[in-house]
Assembly symmetry: C2
Homo-oligomer: 446 residues x 2
């Protein structure tokens, strides 16, 4: 038989322990912060019926980017490309049993058939945190605060990023009441604004002219230019400023200011791609010149739960992604050094000591120490090399002498310092290290 | 637009917080125990190329049970139906960089197109723990001990289950050297033994006669009957007993006995379905008469890594599944009461106190307390009902008086007891409860 390739499927990643540590560090901060805010974890299926997405997810994702197929029972299914429709479906299914406002979060993987690039993989991971059954700026502010606190927990400072905020109703007022576009033109213009940072000013202007049509292009472009210069929420033209969403946005900013979130700002050019948004939309944007990009965002989607036959239930959510957060942490030098979760590697000096070492390692585990036993019978230098290669903080040597005297050599693999310790002292030493390392060591599965 | 169904895709489950708590409890015990033994976590892609499975997974799974499809780039892919081929591929890809023996674990979801039934879903979750690069009974014993310690961590006692052990080489000797079957007959006989507990004795006999053929059936059935009566490793016929695997099995049982694992026993009828097993195979079997079934198993598969173009690397692993473990815990009444991860629900007495309550809840979170704030502005009785429905252990009331005096009413939602406490005392009270609840509260993402 011919040899099989050992590469992962295109656009997906193998997470070896050294990579998984980073993923778990990020997941741990996400889960811990969400729980601090009273969000409870849920899980949704990997596959959903296709209809769940055709309704509101956005044309491009469904028709070009989904992993869809027909199952062996002739059902059209999709590997979830996002979480919002799934959790909306779940809330609809138990709308009577849930207590509101319901605060829910999940950490899950998704798939989209996109061109893989830096910060974007075909299989990707997201935190999704949502409030169901709460309307108004207080709920919107809480969701933004959650994103802010997550970045704070990673050690981020406010100047490192900005939070751009807009409202779908403001966008509608801008397109319809101010730029005087019909629904089809509006949709095209929204998509054009969405691409604004990825194309040149000339391209933007040319495509805008196409959308306005020859008669209205000059006036339209002038209005857009005006909006792009001003950008302040207090300087909006009357056609937009009269929309009640503007007052709600002002209220939202006043709450954020009280919460000391001073790096949030109104941005009328922020669109957000999903069709289901109905109110506030926002985006966390990395200000590092080397990594100047949207990190993640969210918004209000009051109409989605109602699609599943339930009374409409209002909803607002946020969805940080693993890859973009990892890029942010890397670009701002915020990722901590992460060693193995194994704390002690027990090296055995001779075959006769294996049984004693086995009992010792069992005692260590009973004390809550993560301990790996070398059962290979190899020479000591090979055992030591293994522990170092695995980035295990401590090495413990077990020979005849050690078992007789019940004193053990403990070596710090980073500093090469050695100490001879009783079993109890040794356990204390290892646990002290764990505490110093932050004690966040034990985390996800609450 | 017509209403969308709110049901999950057939054979999958929605995990609401109350279900997710159980899942996280089980995942937490798995992850913690695997780490205690020095296993490090990894993650593998959701999709693999089809070839990864056609080689060795077993005909039935690949041709009848996989979720396979062609992606938008014309690649034949499969939603992983199991982890063993993926981790073997990953080890092969980094065979030079990894330190051996490599101890690796993951907790992940899989899909198989099977008829959903009790303890079996189309999307299912497993722990996979494997040792790469260690041969012999010591490694096999460690993997079995890991399964044993996991069940012990759940509170299981030895009489609740047995560990059946066999060896693929013993099976081969039985089929080829003792029952004198050719390779095709052997394969059929293995599959027949695999189904033995699901069919009647008559069906078993009739199908065995078909496999032996008329001439050899009488002799063959007599031999099988003899094996089924004896079953002891010391009473095997010479044709099987001469195989070196039998001595290794005896060595394995002697190690397990030293580790106090006295509920493990040789079982020559244990086959295990996967084609890749080459040595020891084992199965943890629930002895509850109401739930008498295989829970999970594992074994040695020394040939799989080599398929990916690497030097052969020996491997042995175990894969407990979520649904069967949950059934085991339920049938033996071992599942603990699990409350919300949110510890304090902050009820606000009047709109004027919302801002003060907001600051208070921020202080609680900074102290590491998981606190949810009611921002609904509803009447107090509705806020209380919400906290109780969410199974949040404590309710805290914030009104004008409380903010002025800096003393707060804390109500235990289970006992309805109330206390008036300073902020510091309140934090201590909440943390004491968490400690008493086991302090395993923070767990997965190390």
């Amino acid at each position: 038989m011919s040899t099989l390739s050992s590469s992962p499927y295109k656009g997906t990643r193998d997470y070896y322990p050294v990579d998984k540590r980073v993923q778990n560090y990020i997941f741990g901060v996400w889960a811990r912060t969400a729980r601090r805010f009273g969000y409870e974890e849920y899980g949704a299926p990997l596959l959903e019926p296709l209809e769940v997405y055709t309704a509101k997810t956005g044309q491009e994702i469904v028709s070009e980017q989904t992993y869809r197929f027909t199952d062996r029972g002739d059902r059209e299914v999709v590997i979830r490309p996002e979480m919002t429709p799934s959790i909306s479906r779940m809330v609809a299914a138990r709308r009577q049993e849930l207590a509101y406002p319901a605060r829910l979060f999940s950490i899950a993987n998704f798939m989209r058939y996109e061109r893989p690039q830096r910060g974007r993989e075909r299989e990707f991971w997201q935190l999704n945190a949502d409030i169901f059954g709460a309307t108004g700026p207080l709920a919107d502010a809480e969701i933004i605060e959650l994103g802010y606190e997550i970045l704070k927990a990673f050690g981020a400072k406010k100047p490192m990023y900005t939070i751009k905020v807009n409202d779908r109703r403001v966008i509608d007022a801008m397109m319809h009441d101010y730029l005087l576009l019909d629904p089809i033109q509006s949709e095209l213009m929204v998509k054009l604004f969405d691409r604004k940072n990825k194309i040149s000013n000339e391209e933007f202007r040319d495509q805008a002219i196409d959308i306005f049509g020859p008669d209205k292009a000059a006036d339209g472009l002038k209005k857009i230019a005006g909006l792009l210069v001003a950008r302040q929420i207090d300087e909006l033209p009357k056609e937009i400023a009269d929309n009640p969403a503007v007052d709600e946005l002002k209220h939202l900013f006043s709450i954020l200011k009280k919460r000391h979130i001073t790096n949030a700002a109104f941005d009328i050019t922020l669109m957000r791609g999903f069709d289901y948004y109905t109110g506030t939309v926002f985006e966390f944007f990395d200000e590092d010149p080397e990594n100047n990009r949207a990190m993640f965002g969210g918004g209000r989607y009051d109409g989605l739960v109602g699609l599943f036959g339930a009374e409409p239930i209002s909803a607002v959510g946020i969805a940080p992604g693993l890859s973009t957060v990892e890029l942010f942490l890397t670009s701002h030098n915020l990722l901590p050094e992460l060693s193995s979760t194994t704390e002690v590697y027990v090296a055995v000096l001779g075959a006769d000591q294996l049984e004693g070492a086995q009992e010792l390692v069992t005692k260590l585990r009973a004390e809550g120490v993560n301990a790996e036993l070398d059962i290979s019978g190899r020479k000591l230098d090979k055992q030591i090399k293994t522990a170092v290669k695995k980035q295990i903080p401590y090495l413990m040597f077990v020979g005849e002498e050690e078992l007789k005297k019940e004193k053990y050599n403990l070596k710090d693999t980073a500093t090469s310092e050695e100490e001879t310790l009783s079993f109890e002292r040794l356990v204390t030493r290892v646990k002290d290290r764990r505490r110093k390392a932050g004690d966040n060591s034990d985390d996800l599965f609450e």
